[in-house]
């Protein structure tokens, strides 16, 4: 399957008091199965709308979102989501938080099996020993790790992330990039990441899609030609440097400020 996620000519407008506000206007994105697609663009260009369209929480006015050959019309159990806010449920332990999607997706799964699955993921992201803690007892980065586990616990085909590392400090963020890389190496899944961070998009992405300013259309697609098993150091090598320059220029164009910043 070459186009696992296929977003074709999507247009969408929000109805407001002052008439329709177009947010997406001619969006085309193709994501092959098992690859990582990073989406960058200026603030308020409709990136979050994109996550809601792929997950089926919203339908586009025109155009189509096709997932594994089927048009997305409503939410489906094969999707995992992670947000900037890790939204941990304070009345559940970390382990119970991670198990939450299984209660919806696989309500008949034996509890022991669900617990083992959740504990395994927590172990993978370095949270072994924190299973019984309350979310408020963990740091922001740890909560975000647990939130990634929750998004993956039901083995989704697609993981959709809306700036999941946006509120973290730089070092924690780099740690989480590597955690993300390791998770994908262990259990491959297709990934769409919305981000503001160009370094993040190059480190994690197989392709980086640059959206124009609102209403957003696909402005540029960069194929990230780097080995799958990347280390943070790779960002300081000339090849990654060139890509970052290129992306930076594209963002400037998207912001409508060509040349002004040079």
């Amino acid at each position: 399957m070459s186009k696992f996620i296929d977003i074709k000519g999507v247009r969408h407008a929000y109805r407001t008091k002052h008439g329709p506000l177009p947010v997406l206007d001619g969006l085309d994105i193709e994501v092959p199965e098992g690859t990582f697609c990073a989406v960058v663009g200026p603030s308020g260009c409709g990136k979050s709308t994109l996550t809601r369209l792929i997950s089926g929480l919203m339908k586009p006015d025109t155009g189509a979102v096709v997932l594994a050959g089927e048009e997305v019309a409503s939410p489906r159990k094969t999707v995992g989501m992670a947000f900037q806010n890790p939204v941990m449920l304070e009345w559940r332990t970390i382990l119970q938080n991670v198990m939450l999607p299984l209660e919806i997706v696989a309500p008949r799964m034996p509890r022991a099996e669900a617990e083992a699955r959740a504990a395994h993921l927590l172990d993978m992201v370095g949270l072994k020993g924190f299973e019984g803690k309350k979310p408020s007892e963990l740091s922001g980065g740890m909560r975000q790790r647990a939130s990634l586990c929750r998004a993956l616990v039901h083995r989704p085909q697609v993981l959709i992330m809306d700036e999941p590392f946006g509120a973290l400090d730089n070092f924690t963020r780099e740690d989480l990039w590597q955690t993300m890389r390791d998770l994908r190496a262990a259990e491959p899944f297709t990934c769409v990441l919305i981000t503001h961070d160009l370094r993040e998009s190059v480190f994690l992405g197989d392709q980086v899609v640059v959206l124009s300013g609102r209403p957003a259309r696909t402005q540029y697609v960069l194929d990230v030609d780097l080995p799958a098993d990347r280390r943070i150091d790779i960002l300081y090598e000339p090849k990654a440097g060139e890509m970052l320059h290129l992306l930076r220029d594209q963002i400037r164009i998207a912001q409508g400020r060509t040349g002004e910043m040079h």
Partner: protein, 254 residues
């Protein structure tokens, strides 16, 4: 040490309060028709203990019955207002207006409508006076649920009911119990309001009135103290329920 702090400190505070009260009455040499002193109370309790028990029970069960109704109705109303913007816009002014009516003025109205049905009237008043905080807090709790909380389950195709049961309901519990602490006291006031404004020989309110008619001032003060004690018991019963069902909301110290 912790136990001492939880039990001995409040006990000591109460003893100091009673001591001060006794002292003020003693220094001013007030007769008991002006102000009874704590030492006048035990004889009153002993003399009328059977009436205190039966009256206390009547006040207690009618308060709790009214409160249970308030919880059911208030939660239902809160859910309607929390989920529907139209219902919220329509119901809010009505609710605020109703809540602004001094409930003492409703006692004679209710007594006329349901003439002679004293237990029913009393429970009704306890209910009417206490459902408002519950409805408002549940409504606000549900309507301010952050969309991300909904989306973690909505994105998996979970039903509205499942989202309510697994996320919205538990998340609203701390607010609900906050409101219940206010409501329990209000319900108690509602019961006594009917017992005193619409006398029918039942509850601690009736005992208070009989103290008044017989000029038995120590009895009147003893009833006040009994009411306070009952109020404390009800309040801490709610606190115990809160510990069980929403204990997670309490942050561990430090």
């Amino acid at each position: 040490m912790e136990l001492a702090q939880k039990i001995l400190v409040p006990l000591l505070a109460m003893l100091i309060f009673l001591g001060l009260w006794e002292g003020v009455v003693w220094i001013n040499d007030w007769p008991d028709y002006k102000m009874a002193s704590p030492s006048d109370l035990p004889p009153a309790f002993v003399k009328y203990h059977a009436l205190f028990l039966s009256g206390g029970w009547e006040t207690l069960w009618r308060t709790v019955a009214g409160l249970v109704l308030a919880v059911i109705f208030g939660t239902g109303l809160g859910m309607v207002m929390g989920f529907s913007r139209i219902a919220r816009a329509g119901l809010y002014p009505l609710l605020v207006g109703f809540n602004a009516i001094p409930k003492a003025t409703l006692v004679p109205v209710i007594a006329l409508v349901f003439i002679g049905q004293y237990d029913f009237n009393t429970v009704l008043m306890a209910f009417l006076i206490s459902f408002f905080p519950i409805a408002v807090s549940v409504g606000i709790g549900l309507s301010t649920l952050e969309p991300e909380y909904r989306d973690i389950l909505a994105a998996l195709g979970a039903s509205k009911f499942t989202i309510f049961r697994k996320i919205a309901l538990p998340k609203t519990l701390p607010e609900f119990f906050g409101a219940l602490k206010v409501s329990v006291t209000l319900a108690f006031i509602g019961t006594n309001l009917v017992e005193i404004v619409s006398p029918h020989g039942k509850g601690l309110g009736a005992l208070f009135l009989s103290g008044q008619t017989n000029s038995d001032y120590p009895l009147m003060f003893a009833v006040l103290i009994a009411l306070a004690a009952l109020g404390i018991v009800l309040y801490y019963a709610v606190v115990a329920l809160e510990r069980i069902f929403a204990g997670w909301a309490e942050r561990s110290p430090g």
